[in-house]
Symmetry: C2
Subunit: 563 residues, 2 copies
Amino acid sequence: MMRLNVKVALLFLLSIGVLTIVILYSICGTSEKDWQRLKYNPKALDLQGADEIDCDINGEYVISCRKEGEEVYIPFSFLHRYFEVYGKLATYDGLERFEWSHSYSKIYHPKSKYNPKGVFMYFENYNVEVRERVKCVSALEGVPVSTQWESQGYYYPTQIAQFGLSHYSKNLTEPEPIRKIIDDSEKELAKWIVPINAKLERSYDSSIESRILKFVTSENYLEGIRLRMDHVMYFVMRLDIILTSNSSFTVTLQKRETKELYYLHYINSDIWIIVQDNNIYHGIGTSQEWKTLTRDLIIDLQKGLSYLDKDRSKQKLPRSKLKIVGITLRGSGSIDNLTLSSSEHIQQFYDAAEWFVRHQDRETGGWPIYARRKVAPGFNELQPGWYSAMSQGQAISVLSRAYHHSGGDIRYLTAALKGLKPFKVPSSEGGVRATFLDKYQWFEEYPTKPSLFVLNGFIYSLLGLYDLMSISPLGHAQEAESLYSEGMTSLKEMLPLFDMGSVTAYDLRHFTLGTAPNLARWDYHATHVNQLLLLGTIEEDSPFKATAERWIGYMSGKRANHN
Amino acid sequence: MMRLNVKVALLFLLSIGVLTIVILYSICGTSEKDWQRLKYNPKALDLQGADEIDCDINGEYVISCRKEGEEVYIPFSFLHRYFEVYGKLATYDGLERFEWSHSYSKIYHPKSKYNPKGVFMYFENYNVEVRERVKCVSALEGVPVSTQWESQGYYYPTQIAQFGLSHYSKNLTEPEPIRKIIDDSEKELAKWIVPINAKLERSYDSSIESRILKFVTSENYLEGIRLRMDHVMYFVMRLDIILTSNSSFTVTLQKRETKELYYLHYINSDIWIIVQDNNIYHGIGTSQEWKTLTRDLIIDLQKGLSYLDKDRSKQKLPRSKLKIVGITLRGSGSIDNLTLSSSEHIQQFYDAAEWFVRHQDRETGGWPIYARRKVAPGFNELQPGWYSAMSQGQAISVLSRAYHHSGGDIRYLTAALKGLKPFKVPSSEGGVRATFLDKYQWFEEYPTKPSLFVLNGFIYSLLGLYDLMSISPLGHAQEAESLYSEGMTSLKEMLPLFDMGSVTAYDLRHFTLGTAPNLARWDYHATHVNQLLLLGTIEEDSPFKATAERWIGYMSGKRANHN
């Protein structure tokens, strides 16, 4: 009550003050015009306040603005739509302010010269497998399955390479993984609970020179061999495994808050992912040979949940909300070296590298993309099996690093060198090479008719060539070198064609189709900038750095001059 | 006093009202947060009003904005600087509103197919000679003298052609001229006042088959032969004249309001323009042959005044403020057919056409430009005597119309056809032909090294070619036709390179120099659009109309899509 009285008293005094000012002003200062305003617009009583004013936008429509003295104020909601600028209210130290952003993407300034054996660009920040367009990480291959252009899923070499390169880069930038061995049949033996009709046996397998755990259970689903756990630390699982048909290896996860249980089943099958209630199935293939599985359990759960409830897929699932409460073995099979780790980046990197070794077309050297791709009206549809210079280049970046990291495993070098072949074949003949006005050679991310000239994909392909020519042993680098030099000439000459004066073009379809330019949204624009900054560390006499700096300016509203 | 009392009374009532509302609100509706605002921010008393809020622009600087509920209002003065949009307050029917303009130029939608014998584009709206960069209209040649790149002045063929084309177009769109004959030595004889030492004689001149007026005065400046006038209607003078050296023909103008007198002296001399106090001298040359002078007296006065007072040159000098009060003949000479007209457009058009016939280089077919031109850093400086495809093309447009209008005067056709020669010579060899990546032929407004590829100048050159191929008699059109078709192919293919997604490029210097694009300011952008709309009426199956419509959208803030 006390507070209310004070309020009333203060407001009374304030009002008296306003009253006095108003009377004084009316005697001393009110012109005829003010008088009209006061008469018809009660809001004008706040003499310093803003008036409403209509604002006619290009003679096309009218919005409501504010006028204060000589200044007119335009509502940001309109500016957001009209100019596609971004704004949000934020509070710092109790003071609210409005943050205006011309763009939304991040620029990475390289600290030193690009190193083909090191981090790939800024890919340590990538998390490819959480992306919505990743169906799951295949347990057959250990690499992501894309749904970008075919909803049933397909292996997309570019995505697989980015998965590999991000894990390679994280391996260099993140802390060493911490591992907890759960069962290795040697030093660490877990306390499996074996039901009556089941059998668990530890024996020596000479094929892998290791003691292993063999299991057989009844076909009754409920009678699995179980290991109770209460693990909240590490969610990347690794194990060596053989499963006979109808057998499974299951990890049980629990949401700590709701106690709800989820079952990640790894089964003898070629399926990618199947979900039924809280059961998420990944097929590890049907081979009866030893296989090393590396599974990020959080990813596997999240991909599964997205099938249960589309909205849920966008919710981030923090590790802190989950625990591993058990493992169950069903059917028959063998396991070894069951481990939980904070990460297994280098293992996941090799999963990608091995995929490229296994899935390269022996004849063409390409990694075929089994998805239809219609870039835009006016271009032919790319038919399943097409090659992409970006896929080839990024695959070569993976393989070059694998060759280096493995200490010279020739399989990686061979695959990388063979991966150059499509660079020499015109896109009209199934390769990735396009020519700009019979003059400049370009490596096409999408080898369409007419040519498309996607900038970022081209630069990724050049990085692949640079990686390979840098890590190749003496006498193996010429081909990559000559392709790189050819491409670099084109890039230097053609780069200005992508400069739109306030933003960049994603490709040159406006030239080849004669349509409007396809402007790069800000994240692609930032990719252009980041790529040029990186190339600037390799090609020191190039205009790349200066161009990148100019393009950074575009991100805060700067524009090229007009005449 | 009455009014003041009413004011005070009304304001008192209003204030009481505000007081009541404030008290009521304070009791019923004030939350703790509102209370804080009221306490620390007296302006918040206007409860629905706007608060001040800082707005952080891209993390670079802070401006003061307004916040009202969830909406933030941005000051237009900032938007004007940041986006280069335009705005002004305007009042219609007593209601003030704010007019937002994304751009400022005018689009002319052609009403029918372009006709090479008709109006040139929308040049009936041009008034070349009033432009500040026109030093004067030469009385030797009857065409403008440019100061654009050399302050002492030079004949700029592009400007002369535009002068000619604008008068040709005005002749088609404006009312018929009204003429008042002042003296023709036949039917109309003016009442000249002849001082004692002077002589005025009317005789037959067989060379022009006409009776003429011959005059001789003493060398005393004051003793001229005078004609008193009081003429306020027509200010375009025409006469046939011969002046011996040190002779002059003077028109006296008076400002009706101030009675101030100005003297326009046309003298036997090669000077362009000299000004001394209120005396403005134009040289008509020193030849002793008959010459027809066509003078817009207002223009002659205005150009003269601009030398007296630079600021005055920008003041418009309306005809209604002036009158012609006299004409004076001094020295010796002859005159005939002295006339005042509302306009003499076709005569001024022919002055331009004749200039092109007289000043063409016989060998090269070019109209040399005697001014140095440094387009931008990175380009070589064009040396005096260079040719411009735009000049050639626009000259050809003038000559084609002269050939048509004159009923087939072969001199015009011959000059136009010879004017094609520089189109076939590479710019590196003194011609105007550039080649884009060894593939597309371009006609250069500025034949620089490296090539510049100015769009609007190229299109003007194509219009010249089109005009010539259209008006040429059978068997004379092939060369213009083949150059037009070659250029049209280039235009169709290269046009998209000028599309910057929200504006157009003026040229392709970004490609040839590797710099930022040189964006077209809105009047050049509008020229691009107007040219394409016109070409769209000739080339019906072309993308010109669709491109023009897209580019019109840019003028009201529309942009190409981003991906």
